[in-house]
């Protein structure tokens, strides 16, 4: 039931993304059609997963903070389609969709949300901290901007070990629009520019911090321009479309791999709901939410594929039903999974064990008198 994203990679269709769709292309056929169809499958899965996560949160199956990718499905799918298996990904806390698209099992992702032993990190991280070393998903990070210096360091490690070239590894570091104002962003871009690191910083501009607009937070609201202070190439993708996002990300990754230059890529996106599941988003005007709904990338992409003759409405419905089934199975898996054993509480704190490691429960004395 996992998503096998790597099989759908193909050559770039449009090269570097531009600010608008340039011309009407003929409807794709064959491999391209199959690929577009797979993108719809992925977007549909992310949508279904996040709607169900929202529901499970309301039913108190999920605790803590929970931030959803609802409305960002084209961004999620496009970026992850561009990323090769050998590349490393660092994300924000809005990470469920990325975890799924990186090939992590929906059941394990849901189980992590449920805080179960079978979760992707055994119930140690929850919604904000999806992680899978083998899939090179090096984490969702809960501290805004906290992921940027480590992602930069991962790129430093790549440069330390290997030469530039088309087969080089690269790092993709995701961040939100609000994050471009924190010091860690600027320090990291400076290091990456100075040291020629193979990293693509992707600003997912969903137009709102929590409730603060981009214009209300950034003296330069054209966020992709903020790399210019560090001589880092900046690009913006206006289209909320997986293919446009994929192509722009692929071009940026190519620069990172082959020229060993960082790139700042801004992708425009809409957040359909509040900042997190508990946020009713009353600060948003009706016009704004209406616009977000009218630009919802999932029905838009579906309609495009139907009008291009790549999918029929029935096939799209079948895909949606399959997504729903996958998510239902994921919920069942999470529900049936055991809680982590309290006996394992002290097992993860340190990688190398040394004498006198603290293993004291709240009720216990600090020293056992002998």
């Amino acid at each position: 039931m996992g998503i096998i994203w790597k099989e759908h990679l193909c050559e770039s269709e449009t090269g570097m993304a531009t600010t608008s769709r340039t011309k009407k292309k003929p409807a794709p056929r064959g491999k391209n059609a199959q690929e577009l169809r797979s993108y719809y499958e992925r977007m549909s899965l992310v949508r279904a997963f996040e709607l169900r996560a929202n529901e499970m949160y309301a039913r108190a199956k999920i605790g803590g903070y929970c931030h959803l990718n609802l409305g960002e499905e084209a961004t999620v799918v496009g970026l992850m389609a561009a990323l090769e298996e050998r590349d490393y990904l660092f994300t924000t806390y809005r990470d469920h969709g990325y975890a799924l698209m990186r090939g992590m099992e929906p059941g394990a992702v849901m189980a992590e949300l449920f805080g179960k032993e079978t979760g992707v990190v055994g119930g140690w991280g929850g919604s904000m901290h999806m992680f899978d070393y083998d899939k090179r998903m090096l984490g969702g990070y809960g501290i805004v901007g906290g992921q940027i210096p480590p992602a930069t360091g991962a790129a430093l490690a790549i440069a330390y070990r290997s030469e530039a070239g088309p087969d080089s590894e690269a790092v993709m570091c995701l961040l939100g629009d609000g994050t471009t104002n924190i010091g860690a962003f600027h320090e990291s871009l400076n290091l990456a520019g100075l040291w020629n690191l193979p990293i693509v910083y992707v600003i997912i501009n969903n137009r709102l911090g929590m409730g603060t607009t981009v214009e209300g937070a950034s003296a330069e609201p054209d966020l992709y321009k903020r790399g210019s202070a560090y001589r880092i190439e900046g690009t913006r993708v206006e289209e909320d479309d997986p293919v446009a996002v994929r192509d722009a990300a692929r071009a940026a990754l190519k620069t990172a791999r082959e020229k060993r230059r960082p790139v700042l890529l801004e992708v425009m996106s809409y957040r359909l709901k509040g900042h997190s599941v508990v946020d009713p988003a009353r600060y948003r005007s009706k016009e704004d939410t209406d616009e977000a709904k009218s630009k919802d990338p999932v029905p838009a992409f579906r309609a495009r594929l139907i009008s291009d003759g790549i999918l029929t409405a029935e096939e799209a419905d079948t895909i949606d039903q399959q997504s729903d089934d996958i998510v239902t199975a994921a919920v069942a898996f999470a529900d049936e999974s055991p809680d982590p054993s309290v006996d394992t509480l002290f097992d993860k704190g340190y990688a190398s064990k040394v004498p006198n490691m603290p293993r004291r429960l709240p009720v216990e004395p600090v020293v056992v008198a002998s």
Binding site: Y133, G146, P149, P150, T152, G153, A157, Y350
Partner: protein, 344 residues
């Protein structure tokens, strides 16, 4: 000063008297030679050879890939070391002084310390962050702090504080080879201190305190530069016929509570000496530990000798008054003995 540490593994073929600075420099060199995943990163460590010359000669011999000069961007380069460590490199970060670690604290506390556990134990963060702490150099309030307790408070970090050149060598070696993030506390006042350092490979056991001088009448507990004063005062009392045991904490996290309590159960009296502020400090933790682990053995209240709680002033008389001295320690040791009408 003798160092009867529990860790000096290999039989040393010989030894030399060198400074704490030289011990650190030689250890960094040896580890750079031993493991190509080890690299040094920090401000002014290459061309300038380190603000305190700990990295002298290393850029010249190992090149800019292994000895990385950074811009002034502690959060950026400490965080970059975290990411490089996640990919299996072993960065040794130098922060110019402890005070500047505060601008990198999100990367140290929220990232380096958390990543292993928060990601379910799937990834290691094998890195060392070295910096000197300590006042007494007339550097005024922002450049004279001892905030190691902040890091010692954090699960996920290991915090080491060697007090001698020999310990500096063995503990830095252990820190670099450890798979967890290690805060390695040095001290401006120790860099020129000389001591005997065994030749050959020395690897300390992290997490163990050491009884560096045995005694029966009173236990002195200290660490880092405080050990110099503690041993001096212990010798002074020894000459007066008082047998003082001295415990060097060595590792602030994990803390070797058993060694502390075992000592106090033997001596029944304890005084803690620290350069840091008294309230909520390392001494407070030691005193509470003794209260819980050796209460029935105590003949006198546990005392702490620690810094006056003011931002440290520049003027020498004020600075001197604020910092705990050998005289202060000596007086408190005497008071603790007097409290039980101790006679010899």
């Amino acid at each position: 000063m003798s160092a009867a540490t529990p860790d000096q593994s290999a039989e040393a073929s010989g030894s030399r008297v060198i400074t704490y600075r030289q011990a650190l420099n030689e250890t960094l060199r040896a580890e750079l030679e031993r493991d190509e995943n080890v690299f040094l990163i920090g401000e002014e460590i290459g061309v300038f050879e380190g603000s305190y010359k700990i990295t002298a000669g290393l850029l010249q011999d190992f090149g800019p890939k292994r000895v990385v000069d950074t811009p002034i961007a502690e959060e950026g380069f400490v965080g970059a070391a975290v990411g490089a460590a996640m990919l299996g490199l072993r960065p040794v970060v130098e922060i110019m002084t402890l005070n500047f670690s505060l601008v990198a604290i999100d990367q140290i506390v929220n990232h380096a310390a958390k990543i292993h556990a928060m990601f379910g134990g799937e990834v290691k963060v094998p890195m060392v962050i070295r910096f000197p702490g300590g006042g007494g150099q007339q550097l005024a309030a922002t450049h004279s702090q001892n905030l190691e307790v902040w890091y010692a408070h954090i699960p996920g970090l290991k915090v080491l504080a060697p007090s001698t050149p020999a310990e500096a060598k063995a503990m830095l070696t252990a820190a670099i080879r450890d798979d967890d993030p290690v805060i390695f506390l040095e001290n401006l006042g120790l860099y020129n201190v000389k001591g005997e350092v065994p030749d050959g490979e020395q690897v300390a056991e992290i997490g163990k305190a050491a009884v560096v001088k045995e005694g029966t009448d009173l236990t002195l507990v200290s660490y880092s530069r405080g050990m110099v004063t503690a041993l001096q005062v212990a010798d002074e009392f020894e000459q007066k016929g008082v047998s003082v045991e001295v415990v060097d904490l060595r590792s602030l996290r994990p803390l070797d509570r058993d060694t502390i309590c075992a000592s106090v159960r033997k001596t029944s009296r304890a005084v803690i000496f620290e350069d840091d502020m008294l309230s909520y400090g390392i001494g407070a933790e030691i005193a509470a530990t003794i209260g819980e682990g050796a209460f029935d053995w105590l003949d006198a209240p546990v005392r702490r000798v620690a810094a006056a709680e003011v931002p440290l002033p520049y003027a020498k008389p004020l600075e001197r008054a604020a910092m705990p001295s050998a005289e202060d320690l000596s007086r408190v040791v005497q008071q603790t003995l007097d409290a039980t009408r101790f006679t010899k």
